[in-house]
């Protein structure tokens, strides 16, 4: 019985691995000042070829190009190649207009037959710049990404260090007016970029150059074959890994801020993140020889980097394990189940406090806009469970009084049902998040879907997408590049 209890308890505490990895990353983020490499670097201005893949980008491409034209960067050291992937809207005409307006800056390229996806479109641009031979670094960006004036200059200074092969920027959600989903994403990007990528700077190893803003040194691009990967849905992550495996470092520049338009609803977010999650599963397979095998200067094999990577990739499995362990313990040893449950959720509460308050401190401007979404990130149900785990006595008394007030008898059955619900919540929340998506597809009012996301949590929504990605990969579902629709919603930003 003891062995069974220990086994089930270890299943429960597998659920804490993502929390431990999260705390570790946020702890490292605070140490960023000790690893910041720009202190000694002067300003450098390599000749940069910007490659922009564009398919039906009429709503956004003009502003993107105008913004590139006003960068704090020597104009004669910048060329912008927009690769039109056989657009059927006004994109080609707009590109001709912009090429006439900025004849030494904007160079439209067109693929006669498009539809192969973003990676092929980027490679078309890379072939053109290789043939030209002018560039010293290439900046690959998305057609809707708005570069702030100093952003490229701040990214480029890292290339003064010959060890650095690539740099990426801090992509922020810029839709204005921002709806509830935009605010959740804005907060998520504080955690996933401003914090996590600072931590990766400290570790000296990066998981991903943000696809919307990746500056790659020419020698590094050539070292990885001069083209980007077309076999997975995560071409930016593959480039990041290959640049590092070729012996160069990748860095994140938190002060190079660029703005992007992100999804405004559950379904569009689901499609975007499904692509990312499937891409990450494919990358995990592609680089299976790398994980947990640190050799020499190859930092991708660091155990702590592996822990961070797999804590995100396997999160649905960890949560399922924790719920399974708790319910099995409930059936075999209720007192022990209660201890394990409260331990798990107390760690959850502590992690939540640390990560949320750290995020607010890392990007106070974004925090002012989306603090409610930061607080509600795990979902209101999870917050209630955390409260119970930390203050069980007061919570039970208040809960019983509330149930009596509602005419229910807390002593009969209901208590057990609530206990089982709480034990299963880590898994149930993922199913609930998937159900919200289905509700939205069936034209459920946006306000109701939004309210349900606050209740269930944005975090569980991400886990549900990852679980769905596994199912798609197992089924060998077709890899389609479902482009996120952009309407030019990025507001006036400073």
């Amino acid at each position: 019985v003891l062995a069974l209890d220990v086994f089930l308890a270890s299943l429960v505490f597998v659920g804490t691995l993502p929390l431990i990895a999260g705390c570790y990353q946020f702890g490292l983020a605070g140490l960023h000042r000790f690893r910041r490499r720009t202190r000694a670097a002067g300003e450098v201005y390599p000749r940069v070829a910007v490659v922009i893949p564009a398919w039906n980008e009429a709503a956004v491409i003009e502003r993107t190009l105008d913004q590139l034209a006003s960068l704090e960067y020597p104009r004669e050291r910048l060329r912008v190649y927009v690769v039109d992937d056989a657009s059927t809207d006004a994109t080609p005409a707009l590109l001709r207009t912009k090429a006439a307006q900025f004849p030494d800056l904007v160079f439209p390229l067109r693929r006669a037959h498009g539809g192969e996806g973003k990676a092929h479109t980027i490679n078309h641009g890379l072939r053109a710049i290789h043939a030209d031979g002018w560039y010293q670094a290439v900046l690959v960006i998305d057609a809707d990404v708005i570069f702030t004036a100093p952003s490229l200059r701040r990214m480029a200074r890292h290339l003064a260090d010959p060890e650095v092969g690539a740099a990426t920027a801090y992509i922020k959600e810029g839709s204005r007016p921002a709806n509830w989903m935009n605010r959740f994403i804005a907060y998520e990007y504080v955690t996933a970029q401003a914090a996590a990528r600072r931590a990766q700077n400290v570790l000296g190893v990066h998981a991903c150059l943000a696809g919307g803003a990746q500056l790659i040194r020419r020698a590094s691009l050539e070292a990885v074959g001069g083209a980007i990967d077309t076999s997975t849905l995560a071409e930016d992550t593959v480039t990041t890994f290959r640049v590092q495996l070729a012996g160069k470092r990748v860095v994140f520049e938190p002060d190079a801020i660029v703005w992007a338009e992100e999804p405004r609803g559950v379904d569009s977010l689901w499609k975007q993140r499904l692509r990312w999650a499937r891409g990450n599963i494919q990358v995990t397979r592609l680089f299976r020889h790398v994980w947990f095998r640190a050799r020499g200067s190859d930092r991708l094999g660091r155990p702590d980097f592996g822990l961070i990577w797999f804590s995100i990739l396997l999160m649905p499995a960890f949560l399922l394990a924790a719920s399974t362990g708790l319910i099995a313990l409930f059936l075999t040893d209720r007192a022990f189940a209660e201890h394990a449950f409260r331990g798990l959720w107390a760690i959850n509460a502590l992690t939540y406090l640390f990560i949320t308050l750290s995020s607010f401190s890392i990007d106070p401007r974004t925090a002012r806009m989306c603090w409610r979404e930061g607080l509600a990130f795990p979902g209101l149900v999870s917050l209630l469970i955390m409260l119970y785990a930390v203050f069980p006595a007061g919570f039970v008394a208040d809960g019983n009084a509330l149930l009596r007030g509602l005419g229910a008898d807390p002593s009969v059955g209901l208590g057990e049902a609530l206990t089982l619900f709480a034990y299963a919540w880590l898994t149930v929340s993922m199913a609930a998040a998937a159900a919200i998506r289905q509700l939205e597809r069936r034209r459920c009012p946006a306000w109701l879907c939004g309210a349900l996301v606050y209740l269930v949590g944005y975090g569980p929504l991400q886990c549900a997408v990852t679980a769905s990605a596994y199912l798609k990969e197992l089924r060998g579902a077709e890899m389609r590049w479902e482009k996120t629709e952009k309407v030019g919603a990025v507001g006036e930003l400073t």
Partner: protein, 73 residues
Amino acid sequence: VSPPAPTSTHSVHTGESLTTTAPCSPDAAAVPPEPVLCAERALEERFERRLFLRQTALVLVLLALLLAHALLT
């Protein structure tokens, strides 16, 4: 559309010979002057320094809360 011919024959294949643009040169018209860049770097440093202090304080406060909770319950 053909881009203009390379403006320099200087070999940049390794990408290591990146040009530093002197702040007073005409090339640098779009770039802020050096004192502005220095001030900017100082601000960035100050933010990172404060972030370290805030994170340290936060860890200490949370540990204190954890200890207090363990002692009181």
